[in-house]
């Protein structure tokens, strides 16, 4: 067996090892921390690419931790969609981390940066684990790690708002994981299995015997992942948490963390529950309608926000709605749109939070009203903001349009015209709150006595890279789309 065979486990493990080493390393040679984490990211990225190559050569495969086969052991499953998620996680994780290198010096005390790196590695590692695992309980463990790490990555700033937001997040996410654990118990009760595939095989028989159990479990799962991913009525923790966190944390939380929960929900709905079960119980309908409400209300709430980061956070609620809409429509093309939006939104929201971070660092302003004329002092950054905003609205040439295109097409193919209208309407709502910021930033004069602090080139470089990526995925989305199409076709048949 070649080393390549172990890459799925290694991707997760090197992040965890890195997380444990980090506090020690920080004490010993604090300058080595950042390069070490960068190296780990690059390694993981290389491994993910190698996995992709292997997938093309040999198709999906499984990895058994400790050589224990499924009924007892933990199984990792490697297929195209999962590797796609891992690539996004690690790639964008690397990108955000590059930005964080300089931003943290401004936002955090120096002595906690080692902890921050550790948490960051833990977060990315646990998310990769969530993406790859094929085991209900293992998913729970990674969810808890991810939950604690994401709370900690907020509270590390130690301001009052952060602590409070972090606590709120912690409680709700504990509720979420509690519900999920209960759901696992319910499913385990009737099937005696924890592995996705084995549950799927055992479910039809169990569904006949204990339908109520499964119904409850389904409801609990939706609540659990809905809470974690800020599905509409369960989103209350998100605005505070994402707005008060340090900017790189906001970027990674809004960009990656909520997506991975949506992805896990997708995995469970499509790989654990058999299709017949999904038809019998309107799970997809529920998700779809909640997503719709989220899309509309997220945008409406975002409009009335005064704080820039809070506005972006509410916008995330709306945008995660698109991903859930893709899942809810239960239609391959819509799913394709949803998955493409995972990448897209991670890119643009990450970039927007970075922009917010730069603005706050350079001018100390974070209220939407105070951003007048900021385009004159931070031109490149505000151009990036413009591109991000355009992508949110869905202007041609940006990635946002492509994901909306597929979502809308999927809705039409599923004969759900209403949701096309929702997509169009929400784009308009996005326009209503993104455009004034852009206009005011460029056309009003900059008023301010205090000088604009210089911003590190690395940060601006990261933002520029994001901007280019957003445009690239808007102008030439074909490779990703073709990839996703093939992946989804392999998974659910397109």
């Amino acid at each position: 067996m070649t080393l390549q065979h172990h890459f799925p486990a290694l991707i997760i493990v090197i992040f965890l090892i890195c997380a444990f080493i980090m506090p020690l390393l920080f004490r010993w040679r604090s300058t080595l921390c950042a390069p070490a984490l960068l190296l780990v990211h690059l390694l993981a990225l290389a491994m993910a690419v190698a996995l992709l190559v292997r997938l093309y050569a040999g198709g999906p495969f499984y990895y058994h931790l400790g050589n224990w086969a499924p009924p007892w052991g933990i199984e990792l499953k490697i297929d195209f969609l999962r590797v796609y998620m891992v690539l996004i996680l690690v790639g964008l994780g690397l990108w955000i981390f590059v930005y964080a290198l300089k931003d943290l010096a401004h936002e955090l005390k120096r002595e906690v940066t080692g902890w921050y790196y550790a948490l960051y590695a833990l977060l990315i590692g646990s998310m990769s684990g969530m993406a790859l695992t094929n085991d209900m309980f293992n998913l729970f463990v990674f969810m808890e790690i991810c939950g604690i790490a994401s709370c900690a990555i907020i509270s590390i700033k130690e301001s009052r708002e952060c602590l409070e937001a972090s606590f709120k997040y912690l409680i709700l996410s504990a509720m979420g994981t509690g519900c999920y654990l209960m759901a696992i118990a319910m499913i385990y009760m009737v099937t005696g299995q924890l592995n996705f595939q084995l549950i799927r095989e055992a479910l039809p028989a169990a569904a006949g015997l204990y339908p109520n159990n499964l119904l409850v479990a389904t409801a609990l799962i939706i609540v659990a992942f809905g809470t974690k991913a800020a599905l509409f009525p369960l989103h209350v923790w998100l605005p505070d948490a994402h707005a008060s966190a340090p900017s790189p944390s906001s970027a990674v939380l809004s960009g990656l963390v909520i997506k991975i929960y949506a992805f896990s929900l997708f995995n469970i709905l499509f790989f654990v529950f058999p299709a017949s079960f999904r038809q019998a119980v309107p799970i997809n309908e529920i998700v779809l309608w909640l997503a719709t409400l989220g899309i509309l209300f997220g945008s409406i709430f975002a409009m009335v926000q005064e704080d820039l980061k809070k506005m972006l956070a509410y916008s995330s609620i709306a945008q995660i709605g698109y991903v859930f809409m893709g899942i809810g429509l239960n239609q391959p093309t819509a799913l394709l749109g949803g998955f493409y939006h995972i990448l897209n939104h991670a890119l643009m929201k990450g970039m927007l939070f970075m922009v917010a971070g730069v603005i706050i660092q350079a001018t100390g302003r974070r209220r939407v009203k105070d951003l007048n004329g900021i385009g004159h002092v931070l031109p490149l950054v505000m151009i990036a903001f413009t591109v991000g905003g355009f992508s949110m609205i869905g202007i041609p040439g940006t990635g946002g349009l492509i994901s909306k295109w597929y979502l809308a097409e999927g809705a039409l193919l599923a004969n759900r015209l209403f949701f096309v209208i929702v997509i169009v309407l929400s784009s308009l709502l996005n326009a209503v709150y993104y455009l004034p910021i852009i206009i005011n930033a460029f056309l009003n004069p900059y008023e301010g006595r205090e000088p604009v602090k210089p911003v590190s080139r690395l940060m601006v470089g990261a933002i520029t890279a994001g901007m280019i990526a957003v445009i690239f995925f808007g102008v030439y989305p074909k490779p990703v789309i073709v990839f996703l199409k093939a992946a989804l076709a392999a998974v659910i048949g397109m």
Binding site: P396, W405, A408, V424, L428, L435, I439, L443
Partner: protein
């Protein structure tokens, strides 16, 4: 010329301005003169490139070119046929004139290094719309042009301009989303959005109707038809005059062009008629004509009056589309030419007046014709053409439209045309008559003090005004012939 080189010309035509934009932007930092020269050269080269297609297009060739596949089944592609050529040539021509005009006009304005790149980029985007080979490409360039034009609208950065610009932007985005909606439904129904095949939608259905309505909203938003015109009277007047000329003269036509494409390529004439959708367009057209003309009467600001007049004129074009027989179609396309020329003349002339005297209000203008006889002369010629006085080209287009309406058995529409001509007369004559004959007492001392604008501003105005005269006098002029060819091309699904 081999095949690749043949298709390269249209691509060059719209890509060249876009590529020149950064060059002009950087040149603008060095020297203003270099920038202006580059901008002018770009428009001229573009115009020549477009014109060079004439022999092939007139020979019935359809030039197609596919760039790359942006998504499966969705391409960035280009396709030049007669209709594309008409509009592309027209816009390139007017752009050249407006750029010449801008050189002096913009010398007084600020932020010239922003204006020229945007101007040139808009040309590229505009040509991109006209030469798009499928609706997706069209949509991309449409949005691109609309968004970039925002910078032209708010160029003066006054609060009024910003407010109008915001309205424009929001309406543009609504229009863009409606287009998106329409295109995606079309894609779903037809499986492709390419213009090169036959009609994409074969039968009426709720979805098809929705697609039609959203196309009507999307393109109608740009064309300024009722009730989506609200942004237009605010946005056009606040822009610098050459930009207003382009906004009113060319960019409104992109909406009309899009609607023509929708009628002939997405649906078909029979489908539109069997669905009764032509009635909808007819009703909207009538309201648009009357409303635009009537409201124009009440405006005192000359550019606002012109803007409302544009709304009325776009109503004619929509009216032609609602009848859809050969004569109305000829009138329709010819009116696109006509209106582009007339409205550009009017805006440029009005711009010259404002530039020279600072007067915007019609009530301040009595006697101005004696100060600026040449400008006002051109203005009057264009205004008379707009009213439809023979032998100017406005008459020809209205005549053809009326003829078509009578052929289709709709004398009511002819009545509407007459009424609106009357209204046109009512709001244009009160500008012209006092300008030449009024204000004798108050402006006595300036009476014969001729203060014309610079030649570089007058020449474009003169050329355009001459165009209104020539193309009306000769019934077999180039635009009219082109219109005839295009109409038969569209109606028969092939050239001639």
């Amino acid at each position: 010329m081999n095949e690749a080189a043949a298709s390269a010309v249209p691509v060059f035509a719209f890509l060249f301005p876009i590529l020149m934009t950064p060059v002009i932007m950087f040149a603008g930092r060095r020297s203003g003169r270099l920038r202006n020269a580059l901008a002018l050269a770009t428009t001229v080269v573009t115009f020549l490139a477009v014109i060079s297609l004439y022999p092939r297009i007139i020979g019935g060739e359809v030039i197609q070119f596919t760039f790359f596949e942006i998504l499966p089944e969705l391409h960035i592609s280009f396709r030049v046929d007669l209709l594309s050529f008409c509009l592309a040539a027209l816009s390139a021509f007017i752009w050249v004139l407006c750029t010449i005009y801008s050189i002096d006009y913009m010398a007084r304005e600020h932020a010239g290094s922003r204006y020229y790149p945007v101007l040139i980029f808009t040309l590229g985007a505009c040509l991109g719309i006209f030469m798009a080979g499928d609706f997706f490409t069209l949509f991309i360039f449409f949005e691109l042009m609309s968004l970039i034009a925002y910078i032209l609208v708010i160029h003066e950065e006054t609060p009024a301009a910003l407010k109008a610009g915001y309205k424009y932007l929001i309406m543009t985005i609504i229009g863009g989303l409606a287009l998106f909606f329409g295109i995606i439904i079309t894609f779903e129904l037809g499986g492709t959005v390419s213009l090169s095949g036959g009609p994409l939608v074969q039968e009426t259905s709720l979805l098809a109707f929705l697609a039609f309505i959203s196309f009507l909203i999307g393109f109608g938003m740009k064309a300024g038809i009722f009730p989506l015109h609200v942004w237009l009277p605010d946005a056009h007047p606040v822009a610098p005059s050459p930009a207003s000329a382009l906004l009113s003269g060319i960019m409104l036509k992109t909406g009309a062009y899009g609607l023509l494409r929708v009628i002939f390529h997405v649906f078909s004439v029979e489908l539109v008629k069997s669905g009764g959708w032509d009635k909808i367009m007819g009703v909207i057209a009538v309201i648009t004509i009357l409303l635009g003309s009537a409201v124009a009467l009440t405006q005192d600001d000359i550019k606002r009056r012109l803007a409302y007049s544009s709304i009325g004129q776009m109503g004619y074009i929509l009216l032609g589309m609602s009848i859809l027989n050969e004569n109305t179609l000829i009138g329709d396309i010819f009116h696109i030419f006509t209106h582009a020329m007339i409205k550009s003349t009017l805006f440029l002339a009005a711009g010259a007046i404002i530039w020279k005297t600072g007067k915007r209000l019609i009530s301040e203008m009595p006697g101005i014709g004696r100060q600026m006889p040449f400008t006002l002369g051109c203005f009057s010629l264009a205004a008379l053409a707009m009213i439809g006085i023979p032998p100017l080209n406005g008459f020809l287009s209205k005549w053809t439209l009326g003829l078509g309406a009578l052929e289709a058995g709709m004398p009511f529409y002819v009545l509407i045309l007459l009424v609106s001509s009357l209204l046109n007369a009512l709001y244009y004559l009160p500008i012209i008559v006092p300008a030449f004959f009024g204000g004798l007492e108050s402006d006595h001392e300036h009476g014969f003090d001729i203060k014309e604008a610079t030649p570089r501003m007058l020449v474009p105005v003169a050329i355009l005004a001459l165009g209104t005269l020539i193309f009306g006098l000769l019934p077999s002029n180039i635009p009219f012939d082109l219109s005839r060819l295009t109409a038969s091309y569209l109606l028969r699904g092939g050239p001639f």
